[in-house]
């Protein structure tokens, strides 16, 4: 089971962070060439990330590497793409995705670079970040735009500006979260929630994690390594959930052997969605451990 609970942002121009961030063990590590890099350091960040992606520790750790490139319409996006596809990045994250055409354009350029450098065509995966009202309205066609897409992500800072509001208790993101999530599920890809920027507010962070987990998001973008363990723990099933799930699966297997059409556990009927959910809990527990 591929877990994508935590996606840690790293500023692409920061040599120390790029050299050491693997120790925090996020599920995915995202080198940022866009907003976290000043205009005069775009060239330096691109070259630094090009080399970081080829470090054996990232190649061999099983940690997924993601690079947020600059928009292809900017003076930097195309050269970013040339560098990271050639360096072997796992996933390219496209910022400010407003339409499916944005994804089509990215996919065509990625394929051109793969062919030019001898990389297997199709091996570079994509992720689209939705950061505007237009992106949210087009979430379904964006999510369906390419077989390379592993997920779509909601990015809140630009989105709330576009909506003429600001970050608050989460109600300002309610529609966007639901729209992005439904589009991802319809397209059978992953959905990622926005960053929680107050790194000193663990209580607020966990409240938001509880909400997005219940909604169904696979995970969240993070800007501070401290949030990784909190997030992973919140996503881990409890011992009670694992115990119950084992009993559900055992009862289902028993019922199947006996040819029973309807199965019950402790007097309650167990149907297919409950059995599938129990199997999912057990897969997640096997991949992540149980909650501490």
């Amino acid at each position: 089971m591929k877990l994508r609970r935590s996606m840690l942002f790293l500023p692409g121009a920061n040599a120390a962070m790029l050299s050491t961030a693997f120790v925090f063990k996020p599920d995915s590590i995202m080198f940022d060439l866009e907003d976290a890099v000043s205009l005069r350091e775009k060239d330096a960040a691109r070259i630094l990330v090009f080399h970081a992606l080829q470090m054996p520790i990232y190649r061999e750790s099983g940690m997924e590497t993601v690079v947020r490139i600059n928009p292809l319409s900017s003076p930097f996006g195309m050269e970013d793409l040339e560098a990271v596809v050639r360096a072997g990045v796992d996933v390219v994250r496209l910022p400010k995705t407003d339409t499916p055409e944005d994804v089509h354009q990215l996919e065509a350029e990625v394929e051109r670079i793969e062919r030019a450098c001898g990389r297997e065509v199709g091996s570079t995966k994509l992720m689209a970040a939705i950061e505007s009202a237009s992106g949210v309205i087009n979430a379904v066609p964006i999510a369906m735009a390419s077989k390379r897409l592993i997920g779509i992500a909601l990015a809140a800072f630009d989105y709330v500006m576009d909506m003429q509001t600001q970050r608050g208790d989460g109600s300002e993101l309610y529609y966007a979260r639901c729209a992005v999530l439904h589009a991802a599920r319809f397209a059978k890809i992953d959905a990622f929630d926005a960053v929680f920027s107050d790194v000193n507010d663990d209580e607020g962070f966990l409240k938001e994690v509880d909400l997005i987990k219940r909604l169904g998001f696979n995970g969240k973008s993070l800007i501070n390594p401290r949030q990784i363990e909190l997030l992973h723990n919140a996503y881990a099933p409890t011992d009670e959930e694992v115990d119950y799930s084992r009993r559900v699966v055992a009862a289902a297997e028993d019922g199947e052997k006996q040819g029973l059409g309807v199965i019950s556990l402790n007097g309650k009927m167990i149907d297919a969605p409950i059995i599938e959910h129990a199997r999912m809990v057990l897969r997640r527990a096997a991949a992540s451990g149980t909650r501490k």
Binding site: L48, M55, A87
Partner: protein
């Protein structure tokens, strides 16, 4: 590649290095300062020299202030400073790997 102007790349933060480059009539002059110069000085200079040679830079003064950078960071900062100081950037990505 010919170095035609002075340029700077990197930072003085831990795990990084700052590289200054300037035009020189002939030959490479590499000046290295590092807190780990006794253990890694020769290695740092070798990485710097190899990176410059791959870019075809054979005449420049290069001043490196190392703060414990990994080899890949050294390569990245030198490639960046050459890009900023060269008359024309002609290296493709395969030459930088």
């Amino acid at each position: 590649m010919k170095i035609v102007r002075e340029a700077l790349a990197g930072t003085l933060e831990s795990s990084d290095l700052m590289v200054r480059i300037a035009p020189r009539a002939a030959g490479l002059e590499i000046v290295l300062q590092s807190e780990v110069i006794h253990q890694f000085g020769a290695q740092i200079e070798a990485v710097a020299r190899e990176t410059l040679e791959k870019l075809g830079v054979d005449a420049a003064q290069v001043i490196i202030e190392d703060k414990g950078a990994l080899d890949c960071v050294i390569r990245a900062r030198i490639q960046t400073v050459v890009r900023r100081a060269a008359d024309a950037w002609t290296a493709d990505w395969s030459a930088l790997a």
